[in-house]
Amino acid sequence: MAEEEQASAYEVLAVEAEATEADIRRAYRQRSLKVHPDRHPNNPDAAQKFHELTEAYNLLLDPIRRSALDAQIKIKNARKLRFAAFDSKRKNLQEELEERER
């Protein structure tokens, strides 16, 4: 679960994986205009949304955590690619295995 949440940090901020720090800051300011509770006084979810945005922002601004996230995304993408390259038999096998592990 934590993985999925972290993986979406780029999505939360709507920035590319190659975004520079300035891009991230800019995106954060633009996005916070849309979700900040000050702009949505009647929406109880706003605080939560803004919190997620801030978390994502802090994560991407921290070089260590960002590189860890990048690595995770890389592994995930690599796994996806490998999985796509499998033939149907191996796909089935892996799916079964994952099903049982769950």
Binding site: R26, Y28, D38
Partner: protein, 657 residues
């Protein structure tokens, strides 16, 4: 109810004197609201006398007339709210006659009492001794600002944004909220002064590239530094730092000490044991400090400062700068801290904005400019009104009033001080680090310290030290019902949430049992209890009623008096005319030649006409519908003024007839 929300600046703006200022967003711009005296700022000053309580201009006027009276000047207000915290910090573990405590109390022209650990201001009001909390005194000023806005806008106001010094801690912010509650104001948010100043600076400028703006706010009692990134109307505070006990007052203290030493050298007498002499010298020092911002040399002349000694001396700007040298340079520590915390190089700061009265000291501006490699510093914003301007803008955004023009305006503020939990080994674990953007929340999982422990005391602290004792205790709460398990096994999740206005909420949850216990610092913080706030709000109403009934009483008395005097004047004129006629009639007895019937008739007609005019005037007095030039009382035509006057007219007329 009106949708308008006001912004109140509640700060030390001018050197040595504190003024409050109120603004409102109307018709697409900020209006700074003048008070009933027509001034755009109101001295944050309350004075008590045997018959009345004065707030604002009236109080400060009285202060200059009678400086030894029981007034609580602005100083009392702000250091009042600070006294809560400083007082507690300084009084704990110290004796009351401790030098430092005594020194602080000497500076205040009012008496400080203590109840529990809370310092109270002792005043004489209507012949009764009263002990007031700093919140109550602050609320009187806030109420005055509220009434100023209501009178101007013609509608009741309940919502406000109030400024606080950036480096105010949680307890001081809470005290500000309490003061507003007593004044009947709902606080939409508290806004940091430096941030408010930054809004005033940046609102009408369009920055398409993000700009780093450093706001350097050195006021009368507090010092704040904020670094903001401004881009397209979004004001992101990157870091704040400051000192709640550095400002113009400290420079005054240095000057004071200098002159006391000089006096001792010259006359071998000690001024410091004489509070009245010290107070007079302090006022002179403050004036000298201000003069030295424009002149290079000034003199101090106080007659009969001690017995019959006249103290005449002088000081140069260089001397003054030398005395306060270390204080001036200590501001740079906060500037450096802000730059370090926000990972910003000093070359990346595009603009340095100076606010607060003490930045008028040339040396301070020079030091800041030199720190940024000779960068030109910006002094363009009005230091007296900028904060109220920023607060009004923020109030408009929060109340939805200004959404039209300011649809792209947003303020991202930060928590100024780290918040966390004290651990068993005496260390402090922060949950919310300083400079975290608010609103924010963060959870950490803790466990028990002993085997089969079922209760846990959670102590919430605020501060930057790793040692628990060096930080400030905000509140403590007990978590019970933990399942008895070996130590380290139970999982207790503690969540800190900072809401708008910088107020802290703490939740604790035993994860295995799902048992929750939540405290808000507002509930358990050693501050004012809800009942106390309600009682004080009620008392504030009483004051107000007492004052308005007092005003009505005085107005009625004035009306009666003016009527009586006018009536006496008119009846005197009538009397005079009558006696003149009587004398004439008497003199006609032996007159040669005889007076003709026509002449008597003519005299009667003249008298009738004169009497008619006067009676008409008397009737006019009663109804006040004939404006008479030169009338002393400028009071308005009021319905009830007719009733007693009519009775009076009949009276006066009967006696004449």
């Amino acid at each position: 109810m009106s949708d308008l929300a006001i912004g109140i600046d509640f700060a030390v703006n001018l050197i040595g004197t504190t003024h409050s200022c109120v603004g409102v967003w109307q018709k697409g711009r900020v209006e700074i609201i003048p008070n009933d005296q027509g001034n755009r700022t109101t001295p944050s000053c309350v004075s008590f006398s045997s018959t009345e309580r004065l707030v604002g201009d009236g109080a400060s006027n009285q202060a200059s007339l009678n400086p030894t009276n029981t007034q609580v000047p602005l100083l009392g207000l702000l250091s009042g709210s600070m006294a809560r915290v400083f007082g507690i910090k300084r009084l704990i573990g110290r004796k009351f006659d401790d030098e430092e405590v005594q020194a602080d109390m000497l500076h205040w022209p009012f008496e400080v009492a203590r109840r529990g650990d809370r310092p109270l201001v002792r005043v004489m009001h209507c012949g009764q001794q009263k002990e007031l909390t700093a919140e109550e005194i602050s609320s009187m000023i806030l109420l005055k600002m509220k009434e100023t806005a209501e009178a101007y806008l013609g509608a009741p106001i309940t919502d406000a944004v109030v400024t606080v010094p950036t480096y105010y801690d949680n307890r001081q912010r809470q005290a500000t909220h309490d003061a507003c509650a007593i004044a009947g104001l709902r606080v939409l948010d508290t806004i940091n002064e430096a941030t408010a100043a930054a809004i005033a600076y940046g609102l009408d400028k369009k920055f398409y590239k993000p700009r780093n703006v450093l706001v350097f706010d050195l006021g009368g009692g507090t010092f704040d530094v904020s670094l903001l990134a401004i881009e397209d109307g979004v004001f992101e505070v990157k870091a704040v730092a400051g000192d709640t006990h550095l400002g113009g007052e400290d420079f005054d203290n240095r000057l004071l000490a200098h002159f006391v030493a000089e006096f001792r050298r010259l006359y071998r007498r000690d001024l410091s044991s004489n509070p009245r002499a010290l107070r007079r010298l302090r006022t002179a020092c403050e004036r000298a400090k201000r003069t030295l911002s424009s002149a290079t040399k000034t003199s101090i002349e106080i007659d009969s400062i001690l017995d019959d000694i006249d103290f005449y001396t002088s000081i140069t700007r260089i001397q003054f700068e030398d005395l306060c040298h270390d204080l001036f340079y200590s501001t740079l520590k906060s500037v450096e801290k802000v730059l370090r915390d926000s990972h910003t190089d000093r070359f990346d700061v595009q603009e340095v904005v100076l606010v607060g009265g003490s930045t008028r000291i040339p040396r301070v501006a020079k030091i800041v400019s030199d720190f940024f490699h000779g960068k030109e510093v910006n002094k363009s914003i009005n230091p007296d009104e900028a904060m109220a301007y920023g607060a009004a803008v923020h109030a408009a955004v929060l109340s939805g009033e200004g959404l039209g023009k300011m649809k792209d305006m947003l303020l991202l503020d930060v928590a100024p001080i780290s918040l966390g939990i004290g651990m068993v080994d005496g260390t402090f674990t922060p949950l919310i680090n300083r400079n975290t953007i608010i609103p924010a929340k963060r959870s950490l999982v803790f466990s028990t310290h002993e085997d089969y422990q079922t209760h846990m005391l959670i102590e919430v602290y605020e501060g930057e030290s790793v040692r628990m004792q060096d930080n400030r205790l905000l509140g403590r709460f007990q978590l019970s019902g933990i399942i008895a398990l070996p130590r380290g096994v139970p999982q207790i999740e503690i969540t800190f949430g900072i809401s708008r206005g910088g107020l802290l909420n703490v939740f604790a949850m035993e994860k295995s049992a799902g048992y929750t216990n939540a405290i808000t610092i507002a509930e358990d913080r050693g501050g004012l209890a809800r009942e106390e706030i309600e009682r004080m709000a009620w008392e504030a109403q009483q004051y107000k009623q007492q004052e308005s009934s007092n005003t009505l009483r005085i107005a009625s008395k004035n009306r009666l008096e003016s009527y009586v005097y006018d009536l006496r004047e008119l009846t005197a004129t009538l009397n005079e005319t009558i006696s003149r006629t009587v004398e004439w009639v008497d003199s006609t007895e032996r007159a040669e030649p005889e007076i003709s019937a026509e002449e008597y008739d003519q005299a009667r007609k003249d008298l009738e006409a004169a009497a008619f005019m006067i009676v008409q005037d008397i009737c006019g007095l009663a109804w006040r519908d004939i404006p008479r030039p030169g009338r002393a009382i400028g009071d308005d035509v009021e319905d009830h003024s007719g009733t007693p006057s009519t009775a009076g007219t009949d009276d006066g007329f009967d006696r004449r007839a």
